[in-house]
């Protein structure tokens, strides 16, 4: 089944660009949700078997990253957002360009690191690093609190992709703990977004600028 891994990783990379170019919040969240579902499929493909814990792990990933967290985000924009645009600090074309540069750098950097003799796929390391960089980009160049959460999610997805190389090393309980922490983090962030919108009647973090030197 490993021949399917590369195409899916390419899809994940393309979704990074969709996220960078998205002008509507809805598209952005959908891109991340789709990416989360692909991660679940990747877990099964990387392990190459249908053992119970693999299926559970994949199921939990799809349920959390693909369904529940995106639903929470959609709920949040229905509840609080007045304007549904992304409001970038850096323009879309520039973001896409930076994303491309980041992906190229990730490919170059991955070349300098020695890969195991029987890798799951040689694309895993660059895809992971490039997704982490995309997450950073979304996090730093979009001003809404909710887009910052999405940026954090993309970053987490990147870390998760690297985890595909370590299916045997990371025990099931720890993986579940990581997912649970992520879920609670997003949940708490959701509550805070709600409070921000009530307090400032906007969810732009540019309002959050009172604390500084």
């Amino acid at each position: 089944m490993r021949e399917f891994i590369d195409p899916i990783l390419v899809l994940v990379l393309l979704l990074n660009f969709v996220a960078l170019g998205a002008s509507r919040l809805r598209t952005l969240i959908q891109a991340v949700a789709f990416q989360g579902m692909l991660l679940g499929i990747l877990i099964i493909l990387a392990h190459g078997s249908f053992m119970l814990w693999v299926l559970l792990m994949a199921g939990a990933t799809v349920a959390l990253k693909g369904v529940m967290i995106p639903r929470m985000l959609f709920h949040a924009i229905r509840e609080v957002v007045i304007r549904r645009e992304v409001e970038p600090i850096v323009g879309f074309v520039a973001s896409l360009f930076l994303g491309a540069v980041g992906t190229a750098l990730a490919l170059l950097f991955a070349k300098t690191l020695p890969i195991a003799h029987e890798p799951v796929s040689s694309l895993v390391v660059p895809a992971s690093l490039s997704t982490v960089l995309t997450g950073f980009l979304v996090l730093t160049t979009r001003s809404k609190a909710i887009t910052q959460v999405v940026g954090y999610l993309i970053l987490e997805n990147g870390v998760f992709i690297f985890g595909l190389l370590l299916m045997e090393a990371i025990p099931f309980m720890v993986e579940l703990g990581v997912l649970l922490d992520l879920f609670v983090a997003i949940f708490v962030m959701g509550i805070i977004i709600h409070k921000i919108s009530r307090e400032f009647s906007s969810v732009s973090t540019s309002m959050l600028s009172e604390l500084k030197e």
């Binding site: 370590l166 720890v174 703990g177 983090a185 962030m189 805070i192």
Partner: protein, 477 residues
């Protein structure tokens, strides 16, 4: 035993959630603190503590941090009910529960010998503290909580990537993959060098964010500025110590692999850089709680600097972990009292704290003197040990820079502290009903006493623990 240590606080947190009375609920905090202190005492004095096939082990380093957290929490917990009584208008259900959950998760960090589990516990500590920062429900505390949560989570995500890199460095060499600390230290010499380097950098950035090392410290002034003094003390003495412990774990692996020189250079640089950034921002600081945050950045810098220098400085850094922790208790709690009395934390409004609050004001001043390394406080001994370590190791430039930065911090912090404590309070400042009362000043006196005690005499059991921990850290296979 290992389970009891972190489950008891979590059970108490659960109890706090279901206790209906806003007035009696805060007393669960000291109850949990005392229970934890008793268990910690048993664990420290008894035989080896371990569980789950080496996942949970109480080693000498963990003992040191666990002891610090337990003492810090129990003294702060005595302060909590009186503080919450002052803020009776605020519901404290989540505050009490999160405070106890934070204790449980910090304990789990000190016990974890599985690096994945340790990551989960540290992230859980972050999540448990977020509601504590939001206790005041003001727009400013909202901003502080958001920054803390987002910057903390991103930092921790990078630490997870670093943990994965570390695991991969063993797979790359065809070894059985593992994230157990003891196994990793044993196979450290065979680990793949480039991956280990990349892992260490990511972990230092990730857990360094949690610890508040510059330049990842940006959440700290906001969080410490807006959090209640009690939470500030636990964050600056407890949560940051846990992140420091995480960095020590990875340093231990680098030390066992012949990569110590690489790790040490980075640690020395990060340490000096943090001290320098703190020194710059402390000059002309008008907000005395933010000033304490920069003081925390400075002391985290001193800790990693000491580890980076190695040898005698390692012992100094471990001692500094303890002395800094208890002294931060003095500063944050007394600053919290002053904040309550004046209803402001800006030096423009706060004047004459010694006249307005004879006990808290004097303790704030004394805390400043002790934390900046004036004898006979505990930090004087630990900072001096680090200096001796630097000189005896031949790092003369580092030693000179270290002394210069300590002097700048002393002057910068002194200006702000003297403005707060000297002079005559304005009539407006006397308007609040706050008065020093025993329950709000005894914990500060206890912290001050501990800090002075450590400066004059290190008790034998603590001395043994410190030597064991230093030897454990420097161990090579």
């Amino acid at each position: 035993m290992a389970f009891l240590l972190f489950i008891v606080p979590l059970v108490m947190a659960g109890l706090a959630l279901v206790t209906p009375s806003n007035r009696w609920r805060p007393w669960l905090i000291p109850a949990g603190g005392v229970a934890h202190l008793v268990l910690t005492g048993l664990a420290l004095s008894g035989g080896p503590v371990s569980a789950l096939q080496g996942w949970l082990v109480l080693d000498p380093l963990g003992k040191l941090v666990l002891g610090l957290i337990s003492v810090l929490f129990v003294v702060c917990s005595y302060y909590a009910p009186a503080y919450l009584a002052l803020r009776a208008e605020r519901p404290n259900r989540f505050f009490c529960a999160c405070l106890l959950a934070m204790l449980g998760m910090m304990t789990l960090v000190t016990l974890s010998h599985h690096l994945g589990l340790m990551w989960v516990a540290i992230e859980a500590t972050t999540l448990a503290t977020a509601p504590l920062l939001f206790f005041n429900h003001s727009p400013r505390s909202l901003e502080a909580t958001w920054k803390y949560l987002l910057i903390g989570s991103v930092g921790i995500a990078l630490a997870l990537l670093g943990t994965f890199f570390l695991a991969y460095s063993s797979i790359r060499e065809g070894l059985a993959p593992t994230l157990l600390l003891d196994d990793l230290v044993r196979i450290a010499p065979q680990l793949s060098g480039p991956w280990l380097h990349a892992a260490f950098v990511l972990l230092l950035v990730g857990y360094g964010t949690k610890m508040g090392l510059a330049p990842m410290h940006t959440w700290k002034p906001d969080a410490y500025g807006e959090a209640p003094g009690l939470v500030g003390a636990l964050l600056a003495g407890g949560a940051t110590s846990c992140a420091f412990l995480a960095i020590l774990r990875f340093y231990q692996i680098c030390q066992a692999a012949p990569e110590a020189a690489f790790a040490r250079e980075i640690l020395v640089f990060m340490g000096l850089f943090s001290m320098a950034v703190a020194a710059v921002f402390m000059i002309r600081q008008r907000d005395f709680k933010r000033m304490l945050a920069y003081s925390s950045v400075e002391h985290m810098g001193i800790l990693v600097l000491g580890i980076g220098l190695g040898g005698l400085a390692t012992f100094g850094a471990l001692l500094h972990l303890i002395t800094n922790g208890v002294t931060k208790g003095v500063l944050f709690l007394s600053a919290g009292n002053i904040h309550r009395a004046y209803d402001s934390k800006l030096t423009d409004d706060v004047r004459g704290a010694i006249r307005r609050l004879p006990v808290s004001g004097v303790l704030f001043l004394a805390g400043f003197l002790v934390v900046t390394g004036s004898p006979p406080g505990g930090p004087f001994i630990s900072e001096f040990t680090i200096l001796t370590g630097a000189v005896s190791g031949g790092h003369y430039a580092v030693a000179a820079l270290y002394l210069a930065l300590l002097a700048i911090v002393f002057i910068g912090m002194g200006t702000t502290v003297l403005r707060v404590v000297q002079g005559v309070p304005s009539a407006q400042a006397a308007a609040t009903s706050y008065r020093d009362r025993p329950q709000l000043v005894i914990p500060i006196l206890v912290f001050m006493g501990l800090s002075l005690l450590l400066g004059l005499y290190i008790p034998k059991p603590l001395n043994t623990m410190l030597h064991d921990a230093a030897a454990y850290l420097e161990v090579t296979p």
